[in-house]
């Protein structure tokens, strides 16, 4: 029988650094909640808001798959691998931090804030050669799951070192679809970006998170026009 966990938007850890406001679905930095450490291999889900003209100075990462999905605005990325890129809404960026990489992320538009999701997934292989990739996401398809991440370099979306699949979706109201998990032992964490959906009978509103596991599929129905992200990850890793 499916097991579930609900994380409503207002139960997330909140951090306000002035130029950066962040909501943490799981323990991160100064936010520590022993009941909110991870959902399987999904370790970090931060909902970030960066003031125009500000950003994260150079800082290190290692041994994490770091996925950034801008929702509004753009960020300038620069890293120690030599990559320099702008990532904007409608794109997805991945960094396999591996043996270690330094990077900075900066909102160079002084007039507009940048909003983005920063997602960290435990890798299934430590100490890999660091790598970086970014692609444009299909923004036109409606009422279908659009795969934006998988373990396979040859598959749709970016790829990471983990048996994880991410799908984004834009559903019209009353659209219902069944999501079939790709791998036994995986669970799915649904994060609602806009609108309201119902998953396995549970109503979810904007910025609510819902994890479901010990099942091979679940139905998701949009109660209103909705946008959401499904992050399927191994529950044991």
């Amino acid at each position: 029988m499916a097991q579930t966990v609900l994380h409503t938007a207002n139960t997330r850890g909140a951090a306000d650094h002035g130029w950066l406001k962040s909501f943490h679905s799981f323990s991160f930095a100064g936010y520590y909640n022993p009941d909110r450490i991870n959902f399987g291999a999904l370790r970090v889900l931060n909902d970030d808001f960066v003031t125009g003209g500000r950003g994260f100075g150079e800082h290190p990462h290692d041994n994490m798959e770091i996925i950034s999905i801008p929702l509004d605005g753009a960020l300038q990325h620069k890293d120690s691998l030599g990559n320099t890129a702008t990532i904007k809404a409608g794109e997805i960026q991945v960094m396999s931090a591996g043996t270690g990489v330094y990077h900075s992320e900066y909102n160079s538009d002084p007039e507009h804030a940048a909003k983005f999701l920063q997602i960290w997934v435990f890798p299934n292989k430590r100490n890999v050669e660091p790598r970086y990739d970014q692609i444009t996401i299909d923004a036109t398809t409606r009422n279908e799951f659009v795969q934006v991440l998988s373990p396979n370099a040859d598959d749709a979306g970016v790829w990471i070192y983990q048996d994880a699949w991410f799908n984004m979706a834009r559903f019209d109201a009353n659209t219902a679809k069944t999501y079939n998990l790709h791998k036994e032992g995986n669970g799915a964490y649904i994060f609602v970006l806009k609108g309201s959906v119902k998953v396995d009978g549970q109503n979810l509103d904007t910025r609510d998170g819902f994890g479901i596991w010990d099942t091979d599929k679940f139905e998701i129905e949009a109660s209103t026009a909705a946008e959401f992200l499904i992050m399927e990850v191994p529950m044991k890793f």
Binding site: S27, F28, A29, G30, Y32, P34, I37, R43, V44, H59, P60, H61, D62, N63, M64, A97, G98, T99, G100, Y102, W120, F122, R126, N127
Partner: protein, 109 residues
């Protein structure tokens, strides 16, 4: 006249990480917390030397240390009857660090 003494419990944390700049960053973050002290080992040999010299409360395994090396360290800690939690550090910075240490200390108690 009574005298009140504050018993300061120093938490000693060993960072085992081959990436020296990241190890230094982690050490700096640990030292920001009152009563936490960081030591750094850039290799398995350095870590073993440190563990035979001093008992640590938590050992963090960072980038560049293989599972095999971690296993060797754990074996030595067993022989020392150190009862020191050895946890993999992920991320290389402050994001996960404090939660990893709090979780390790919680399970140790």
């Amino acid at each position: 006249m009574s005298m009140w003494f504050k018993r300061v419990i120093m938490i000693n944390i060993l960072i085992v990480c081959a990436n020296q700049p990241i190890a230094a960053t982690i050490a700096r973050l640990i030292e920001k917390i009152d009563d936490w002290h960081a030591a750094v080992a850039f290799s398995l040999n350095d870590a073993l030397e440190a563990c035979y010299a001093k008992k640590f409360d938590v050992i963090l395994i960072g980038a560049g240390i293989s599972q095999a090396q971690e296993n060797v360290l754990c074996l030595h800690l067993e022989q020392l009857e150190a009862n020191t939690p050895v946890v993999k550090h992920y991320g290389g910075g402050s994001g996960l660090l404090y939660a990893e240490i709090y979780q390790a200390l919680k399970h140790k108690v």
